[in-house]
């Protein structure tokens, strides 16, 4: 069994370890602040979905440490490759959280997408594992250019079953590129448990097949996630090649707002894991260290709330995209003739009344008694 890298105890049976070198109090507070920003975004997005303001949303409640820690380990020049479960990670790199919310609201074009090069944040990847070869190619290019730049890509344990994962791992090793593969092993791919996903005991076990170093970390511990990623990125930028990191955690929430975990797993398991969730646990650790107190804690919470509330307001103030958004940016150069014909075809008909922004819906009818008179 691989040893689990962990610094933060639970204030009870699991003991604290000293802060690793390279992090001072300011760093620790920033890592914590990022946890809180991510948590606030996630909880707000779920609420917005429930209110009918966003479409289906993939929550990450409990996985914030796997995002805050690795992101804090990056230099600004490193590239990151998120999946839909790290959808708001760009907000830690200057992508407007309103843009990410707009993406979940079903907006495209300038509303819902961002310039990947401006932020060194790849577009949010939806098809599982398919962004991993992109991280490898980007790392190859950085190495070719002799730039001290590395690529960091997140994926889930389910993604390790995909061919693209294995191709990316293999290419990265053969080419010895500066890439870090960060696996968030939350034990569940929608309803499919880890045991049905792979016959290996861990994801890090797979690194041996690619002759790649690997680290197993506590995925609820942002300091452990930071440390493993920091070491991997430094080795990568220094020409030491790629690393696989497995952050072991648990998907405490549902896969997405359309998913009901009661159908396939015991609620009690999630409740047990909840005790290890990173925001409260990190706050406890920082409090024990004397870095955080109640005043700072509520100031950080207030600031995150303001940031996300502003983003929600900005998202809601966006105009509904026009019909032309269908044809924008399909090509960087040139528009096929059929695009103008499509616009003409649309101009000749009324815009369907269904085309409008999501807005809060009336609660569903509970029966005939509620039906308005005259409608039957």
């Amino acid at each position: 069994m691989d040893e689990l890298l962990r610094f933060i105890g639970d204030g009870d049976a699991i003991p604290d370890k000293p802060v690793p070198g390279g992090l001072d109090g300011k760093d620790l507070l920033e890592i914590y602040r990022w946890l809180v920003v991510l948590r606030t975004f996630d909880e707000r997005a779920v609420a917005l979905q429930r209110q009918g303001r966003l479409g289906t949303y993939a929550l990450y409640w409990g996985e914030e440490a796997t995002q805050s820690g690795p992101m804090y380990a990056c230099r600004d020049t490193d590239w990151v490759f998120p999946t839909y479960r790290q959808s708001s990670i760009g907000a830690l790199r200057g992508v407007s959280p309103a843009t990410v919310l707009a993406w979940w609201r079903g907006y495209g074009g300038t509303h819902g997408f961002y310039n990947a090069r401006e932020h060194r944040v790849a577009p949010i990847c939806v098809p599982i594992a398919t962004h991993l070869p992109h991280a490898v190619g980007l790392a190859y290019a950085a190495k070719l250019r002799r730039d001290p730049v590395a690529a960091l890509a997140w994926f889930g344990e389910g993604a390790s079953s995909e061919g693209d994962f294995h191709e990316a791992m293999n290419f990265a090793s053969v080419w010895k590129v500066p890439a870090v593969f960060f696996c968030v092993n939350n034990q569940w791919a929608i309803s499919t448990p880890f045991s049905k996903q792979t016959a290996t005991a861990t994801i890090v076990a797979k690194a041996a097949a690619y002759n790649m170093p690997a680290t197993l970390v506590d995925g609820f511990d942002p300091i452990a996630c930071w440390k493993a990623t920091k070491d991997a990125l430094e080795r990568a930028r220094g020409g030491g090649g790629p690393t696989l990191i497995e952050a072991s955690c648990y998907r405490i929430g549902a896969h997405g707002t359309a998913d009901d975990p009661k159908l396939y797993r015991d609620d009690a398991d999630a409740a047990r894991w909840r005790a290890l969730e990173p925001v409260g646990r990190t706050a406890g650790y920082l409090t024990r260290l004397g870095v955080l107190d109640d005043t700072k804690r509520s100031a950080i919470a207030e600031e995150a709330k303001r940031l996300i509330s502003d983003a929600v307001a900005e998202m809601e103030s966006m105009d509904m995209p026009g019909r032309e958004v269908l044809f924008d940016y399909v090509y960087a150069r040139g528009r096929p003739d059929s695009f103008a014909e499509g616009l003409d075809e649309l101009a000749a008909v009324r815009r369907p009344p269904e085309v409008q922004p999501l807005r809060p819906q009336a609660p569903p009818s509970t029966g005939d008694a509620d039906a308005p008179k005259g409608l039957k």
Partner: protein, 331 residues
């Protein structure tokens, strides 16, 4: 055509250090068809890469290189080997511009030797171009001769959008023509007629009695069939070489149909939902009153590409094109 493509690679890589070549066996051996011979020695193994044998990995990493600002050319060794990369092409290469507000297109060229007629083993002779032409965000082109092959390759590299560059295997060593050393476009500066040559059809043989609309591997045999029609029936058939399969040169297609009043579409790929179906539809929608007869098609059949002993039964031929022309002319 092999030599012309080789020249194009040398010229592109010499004039712009962002250009890079990757694929299976492209470096040491110079590719199974020797299209990329000599590049490794001249440009080194960092820019001329023998990759692991994994097509999704090849196209996926090419996308990542493009994200960082390189201009990768990715070779798929044979047509039917592209399918593992289909997801990377469809969900990522085709949508990168769309998903980045037009700022970061996947500027990659995917070269695919395609089609039959060279007695290749099973799964080495497919014509998958319609699969790609159906995907918004891609450009799909196919040259039919050496000069076009070189010029279109350079234009494809210059084009910021992903280009599926289909190279007809049967023309690799079958057609010879002089290729001017100087390309018609300036790689390093991004100038020249690049957009034109990638999107405009060309009249490969003049004529006003019948438009034979085709591309890639069936262009030379269409010209031969037109010559035969001229000798045997006094019919002058125009051969329109599409060059670009997406976007289609709609004006050239309808213009040729209108000028001739009769049109026949020829391609090697299966008929169902092929390029010919789209060309025929376009003509019927826009030029029906100019037509003397419905548009007909001579294509591959809706069967898997056969073992090579039977490939000449499957492939369009001069005789089948002449017979197809007769169906249109005598309708």
């Amino acid at each position: 055509m092999v030599e012309a493509l080789n020249l194009g690679h040398h010229q592109a890589m010499a004039s712009d250090d962002r250009v890079l070549l990757m694929g299976e066996d492209v470096a040491k051996t110079g590719g199974v068809f020797r299209v990329t011979a000599g590049l490794l020695d001249r440009f080194g193994e960092e820019r001329v890469i023998d990759t692991p044998l994994a097509e999704a990995g090849i196209i996926g990493s090419a996308i990542g290189m493009s994200l960082y600002g390189l201009l990768p050319i990715a070779e798929i060794q044979f047509d039917a080997f592209v399918y593992p990369a289909f997801e990377q092409i469809v969900v990522h290469a085709a949508r990168y511009a769309w998903r980045t507000k037009g700022q970061v297109p996947a500027s990659i060229v995917i070269r695919i030797p395609y089609g039959g007629g060279v007695r290749a083993p099973e799964m080495h002779s497919d014509c998958p171009e319609a699969l790609f032409a159906h995907v918004p965000g891609l450009k799909v082109v196919s040259p039919a001769g050496p000069a076009d092959a070189r010029d279109m390759l350079l234009a494809a590299i210059l084009d910021p959008d992903p280009v599926i560059f289909m190279e007809p295997k049967r023309i690799y060593r079958a057609v010879r023509e002089e290729v001017p050393q100087e390309p018609p476009l300036d790689i390093a500066n991004g100038n020249g007629a690049g957009g034109e040559i990638l999107s405009r059809a060309r009249i490969a043989r003049p004529g006003d009695d019948l438009a034979i609309i085709t591309y890639g591997p069936t262009v030379p045999m269409s010209i031969e069939a037109a010559d035969q029609l001229s000798r045997e029936r006094g019919i002058e058939a125009r051969v329109l070489d599409l060059r670009s399969l997406y976007p289609l040169d709609v004006a050239a297609i309808t213009g040729s149909a209108t000028a001739c009043g009769r049109a026949l579409v020829v391609h090697e790929a299966p008929r169902m939902a092929g390029i010919g179906a789209e060309v025929s539809s376009l003509i019927h929608e826009r030029a029906m009153l100019d037509l003397e007869a419905p548009v007909m098609r001579v294509t591959g059949f809706e069967v898997p590409f056969p073992q090579f002993a039977n490939e000449d039964d499957y492939l369009p031929s001069v005789d089948r094109i002449v017979a197809g022309a007769a169906r249109v002319l005598d309708w």
